[in-house]
């Protein structure tokens, strides 16, 4: 009599290990398929245990133009889950991958099909789909999702070459960050949650000036030329991914200071799609209504230019969304805790968790404005989503074993 609950037959491939243990060992994150073979020649029952990581990996996609892995958003996200994310020990020092206890973040630049010289010869940018191998991306993300480890290529940003692959083992949370996480329809299907970081042109220009003006060789003109040259490809291939994202963090220049072009005070909008499974949008005071809120007043004193919030339902590319917007910046801890206490559905485990996370990384850029706040909140939402998915998956096998 065979006792088996076979979920995904195709994952019974090379990286599942077959062992004959004398005692069963239930490892972390592994489900065991136990096959009982009744041999007719002897009365002894042989048991063969096939262990595979059962594919409760949750896949998150993050579309961002700023490069990979080391970005602030990733560091905040991994911090919400606990532990610091670091490059794989003992591997290629130019690897773009970050690994923590629960999370692995990979950079989609690793799936470039053309290296820097190849792209120069063909006259394509890294933004162009022709420079990326979407088939490999799909296969490997699918493999990780079903619990199979993969050898992923490494794109070396320093040399511009494609280096020998590194081993990626399926983690609890797998984040794919890069320019095209939602471009290919098959990869999009595999994502449990997707985020798009939409930086407006003025803010992008201001940030790039801050980043590059200190570099030798760069001038205002070269920075401007670089942004403008990339814009057509960006608008054609990267920008359309916005419509598929479950959450969009839009960064715009502030409206509180007239004619501000330093990009220091920011207006940040968190656009959250309605109806996404396991995702409950954050709201202010009353879900579904339109609210405009200036917290500074009698209970809270803020310094110039102050803080302004708004919340309301909108439509975004034909979808129903809820938008939470923050304009301005925090100066003090008590402003942050005051605001946190008025937000609802932020998925914190205790009062003040958002503030605590923001304080933990007070040196990160955006820690005093909406970018840091919404990135932290999205991190908490992802944690909540992960826990709900795991809870629902552990509910299902119990059903199967009843038979």
């Amino acid at each position: 009599m065979a006792v088996s609950t076979v979920h995904t037959v195709q994952s019974l491939s090379s990286t599942c290990s077959i062992s004959n243990p004398t005692k069963s060992h239930l490892g972390f994150n592994q489900k065991q398929l136990v096959f009982f073979k009744k041999t007719t020649t002897t009365t002894r029952r042989a048991t063969t245990v096939i262990t595979c990581s059962a594919g409760d990996t949750v896949v998150i996609g993050l579309a961002a133009d700023s490069g990979c892995g080391k970005s602030t958003f990733m560091r905040r996200l991994t911090s919400v889950f606990g532990g610091a994310a670091e490059p794989p020990k003992g591997g290629n020092p130019d690897s773009n991958t970050l690994i923590s206890d629960t999370t692995t973040v990979i950079c989609l630049d690793d799936y470039h099909s053309l290296d820097r010289t190849g792209r120069k010869e063909k006259g394509v940018t890294a933004l162009d789909p022709r420079a990326n191998n979407f088939d490999l991306m799909y296969e490997q993300v699918k493999a990780i999702k079903s619990g199979v480890a993969v050898e992923k290529p490494i794109y070396n940003h320093v040399t511009g070459l494609i280096d020998p692959p590194e081993l990626i083992k399926p983690p609890k949370i797998f984040v794919i960050e890069g320019l095209h996480p939602m471009y290919d329809a098959r990869v999009r299907e595999l994502l449990d949650f997707s985020i798009y970081l939409d930086i407006s042109n003025e803010v992008k220009f201001a940030w790039k000036i801050q980043r590059d003006m200190a570099e030798r060789g760069h001038s205002l003109e070269s920075i401007k030329a670089s942004i403008e040259a990339r814009k057509p490809d960006f608008d054609a291939y990267i920008d359309p991914q916005k419509q598929y994202a479950d959450a969009v963090i839009e960064v715009l220049p502030t409206e509180l200071i007239p004619d501000d072009n330093e990009g220091k005070v920011l207006r940040v909008r968190l656009i959250m799609k309605e109806g996404v499974k396991y995702f409950n949008p954050v709201y202010l005071f009353d879900e579904g209504s339109t609210i405009s809120w200036i917290p500074c007043g009698r209970k809270l004193t803020c310094s110039y230019p102050g803080i302004k919030f708004s919340y309301g339902p909108e439509t975004y590319f034909g979808h129903e969304v809820s938008v939470l917007e923050m304009d301005g910046q925090f100066d003090r801890l008590d402003e942050l805790i005051y605001i946190e206490s008025h937000l609802s559905s932020i998925s914190t485990k205790f009062y003040g968790e958002v503030t605590q996370q923001m304080l933990k990384h007070a040196d990160f850029p955006g820690s005093n404005n909406g970018t840091g706040l919404f990135q932290t909140i999205v991190g908490l939402k992802i944690r909540d989503l992960y826990e709900q998915i795991v809870a629902s998956k552990s509910g299902a096998p119990l059903e199967a074993t009843k038979t």
Binding site: K70, G123, T125, H157, G160, E215, R230
Partner: protein, 123 residues
Amino acid sequence: MAAITGLTLTTPKTLAKASDTSKIKAINNFSFPWKKRCNTQFLRLVAAAAPEDLSEKVVESIKSAEEVCSENPVSGECVAAWDEVEELSAAASHAKDKKKDSDPLENYCKENPETDECRTYDN
């Protein structure tokens, strides 16, 4: 043993590994097998070279992008050249941040917490 910008080759395995890989990279870049340079001098050059190397690349890429674009401003080559400038600028800025964050003692102690330098006393 050679002292390279404050790091000595004798001690940490990990630091040696880092300078080794950069040494290997440098050897691949310069193919002078017949020239017997003094080891210490060569290694000193290499360890200091990491972010400056990238900065050099940024400068060169900007120059070449300006050249290519002056010939034909709407070609794919021009766009690809500016894309390369962007990629290298991003890499240079990441490298600068990484260098700013990394403390040699912290890095060593992460790998070898049991050594004398890294022991912590809590009372």
